[in-house]
């Protein structure tokens, strides 16, 4: 059970291997993102991860 969970969570690393650019190209008829689009994705990812951490901390105050 625990090993299955660990293996399942490991698969969440697959987007790194899949390559964000290739996923972008697949969604946009093979077009490569320009610098502005890449910056938007970068900022969006940072905000998403910071929010996830902040949400966890808000629901787990220090004892």
């Amino acid at each position: 059970m625990r090993n299955q969970l660990i293996l399942q969570l490991f698969s969440t690393f697959s987007p790194i291997v899949a390559d964000v650019i290739q996923r972008y190209m697949a969604k946009n008829n093979g077009r490569v993102p320009n610098a502005e689009e890449m910056r938007v994705e970068f900022e969006s990812n940072i905000d998403k991860y910071l929010d996830e951490g902040a949400t966890w901390k808000a629901s787990h105050p220090r004892a």
Binding site: L9, P15, I16, V17, M38, Y49, G53
Partner: protein, 139 residues
Amino acid sequence: MKQFILVACLLLSSSCASQAPPNLTPGSEVRLWQANETAVALGTLQHVVIELNKVIVCPELPAIAPPCHPLVSDDNTRIVIDAVADGLTTLRRVPDGWRETGLAAIVRVENRLDAAGMGRIRVYVTAARAAITSITATP
């Protein structure tokens, strides 16, 4: 054992997949791509740890073992979140330093987690480090 096989697979596959596409303009576009890959590696590590923190395990012999507890403790989860948050904030400010920033966050996690926590998430820390080191410095 399966975990280490998966790490090996990740190392082999990521070394091919993390090279910047050749049609990106050298300079800012490539650096943003590299910084973004680093952000995804750190963010994914954080996400996995938060998910493991939600898993509650109970000992088979409660009389001689601690009571039910998260698979990754709150303290260890907080250490990862703080290290990742500092890394992401630095990445946003200085995308050019993506490799140093990403690896520094990983080292901070390794140095501050207790032995139990490190034992639980070592495979994911290894995967995150592999993901960052496999990003090529030049397109």
